[in-house]
């Protein structure tokens, strides 16, 4: 029965998780288009199905029936590998996120925080390799921008994660959510949330930090040479990344699955987590609808001259708090 516990159950869980996330991705595109339409005072998708609810299905069918084109000038193995490498980190980061009382999505490991840092570190490979293998100047520029941007913003992100970790006193995200926090801890945590969110925007290449794919200067950036299903994979990766990072932020800053009666009725946990994730996703889309894109050098300057020092200050004050007040 050992292998059943070790292999089969996690595999089933992983399959369910992937199914849920991909469905979530499909409806996130619908959610985003509807919301953007609202922000811009228009209707958004409303032809396929009621309220346009079948629009994601129509889009999926369209992507599947696109002709598979591989340009001659690309580095073929890397070109084909890149979209998959873009999607995988967005999915596996879920492994350590707790979805209900005592229940992580896949595994309760004592390196939950490090897992997040590690996955954030490998997230940029898909984009870098896509840009390089496309053998196209626009793609390469997009890839260089994205790698520099993601590596830079990883530093303040890591510093904020370390601060949260120090105050929580455990590497496990399951313990983090279940442990109790004092009121000043919550306030101190929420002070960091806007800055953490900015780092996440840069890490996920979301607007206003979508400089790797700025259409007015780089065509479509790293994904210029991709079409059909391979382009769809990058698209999926970006949106699944939004869902995953929202779940992480909900877990770190807003109590994850916690909510009224979630301790008694286990099934309420995922529901609360879903509600929190939806609110955070709204935030992503809200920012996209309201803020323009900065210049690339402004983006980098902001990271190195503001976010990084701020992160260092935050870490040191958190350390003092963790030692003297806990």
């Amino acid at each position: 029965m050992d292998w059943l516990q070790l292999l089969v159950f996690p595999a089933i869980r992983a399959l369910i998780l992937i199914f849920v996330l991909l469905t979530g991705f499909a409806y996130l595109t619908w959610y985003e288009r509807k919301l953007l339409a609202r922000f811009q005072v228009r209707y958004g998708p409303n032809r396929a199905g009621k309220f346009g609810l079948l629009q994601p299905a129509a889009d999926a069918v369209k992507a599947f029936f696109k002709e598979e084109i591989i340009p001659n000038h690309v580095d073929k193995p890397v070109y084909l590998l890149a979209p998959a490498l873009a999607l995988v980190p967005a999915l596996i980061i879920w492994a350590v996120i707790p979805i209900a009382k005592g229940t992580p999505a896949i595994a309760d490991v004592n390196i939950g925080f490090l897992w997040i840092l590690a996955v954030a570190g490998i997230e940029s490979y898909g984009i870098i390799l896509a840009g390089w293998s496309s053998n196209n100047n626009y793609s390469l520029l997009g890839a260089l921008r994205s790698s520099a941007q993601m590596v830079s913003y990883e530093l303040p992100l890591g510093l904020f994660l370390v601060s949260i970790l120090m105050l929580a006193g455990s590497f496990s995200l399951v313990d983090l959510v279940e442990g109790s926090r004092q009121w000043w801890e919550w306030i101190w945590l929420w002070l960091a949330f806007p800055f953490f969110f900015i780092c996440i925007l840069a890490e996920t290449n979301r607007s206003p930090f979508d400089l790797p794919e700025t259409e007015n200067e780089l065509v479509a950036g790293f994904q210029t040479e991709y079409g059909g299903m391979k382009f769809a994979l990058f698209f999926i990766a970006e949106y699944v990344n939004m869902i995953s990072t929202s779940a992480i932020m909900a877990t770190l800053f807003f109590g994850g699955w916690k909510g009224p009666f979630a301790e008694q009725y286990i099934w309420l946990g995922p529901v609360y987590l879903l509600i929190k994730v939806l609110i955070l996703l709204f935030l992503f889309i809200w920012v996209r609808a309201s803020i323009g894109r900065p210049r690339y050098d402004q983006l980098m300057k902001f990271c190195w001259q503001f976010m990084l020092p701020l992160g260092l200050v935050y870490v040191s004050i958190s350390a003092v708090l963790a030692v003297f007040l806990k």
Binding site: N110, L114, L140, E154
Partner: protein
């Protein structure tokens, strides 16, 4: 043959194949990707040895930092710089081989001597992989080496800063000299 041994052999084979790929492939980016595969399989092996912290650090530092920097540099310089002269090539091959043989000797010596005298308590060793255990060891027993490494990194950081500044000053200096003339 137990499952864990089979797993080890599989992952080890992938790891070795990737290591071979690093040195045999002609395309620098492919080499970097093979290196990445090698680091990833090493991380998997660390997990099977209950060294979770080491595995995570391996991925964060090597996969998340160093290989990305390597890729970055390759892209900036251009991937197809295969323009070493023949003499340079021969020279680097000898030095590489010599270093490789020395490394092989050192590793086999330490492995063999460990095998001859298995004095350490394996149960205690297996507890050593958690972040807590590593942290306690680092900040008590190995505090001096730890601080020295921190100092070394600081020196490297300042060195990089100085080098970068000099270049900037030089490029600014040339027009000003011309202006004086």
């Amino acid at each position: 043959m137990s499952w864990s041994l089979l797993f080890f052999l599989l992952v080890g084979a992938v790891s070795l194949a990737a290591a071979l790929g690093v040195v045999t492939s002609r395309q620098p980016v492919h080499s970097a990707l093979f290196l990445l595969t090698n680091f990833a399989t090493l991380a998997v092996l660390y997990i099977t040895l209950d060294a979770q912290f080491l595995a995570a650090a391996q991925v964060i530092v090597y996969a998340g930092g160093i290989v990305i920097l390597i890729l970055f540099v390759i892209m900036l310089i251009g991937g197809d710089t295969n323009d070493f002269s023949a003499a340079q090539r021969a020279w680097s091959r000898t030095v590489g081989m010599a270093l490789g043989i020395i490394l092989l000797l050192v590793i086999s010596y330490s492995a063999l001597s460990r095998m001859m005298a298995p004095s350490e308590d394996t149960a205690a060793l297996l507890q050593g992989g958690t972040p807590e255990a590593v942290g306690i060891e680092l900040f008590t027993k190995y505090i001096l080496p730890f601080e020295l490494v921190a100092l070394l990194l600081l020196v490297a950081l300042i060195g990089a800063l100085v080098l970068g500044r000099q270049q900037e000053g030089a490029s600014e200096g040339i027009p000003s000299v011309k202006a004086n003339e």
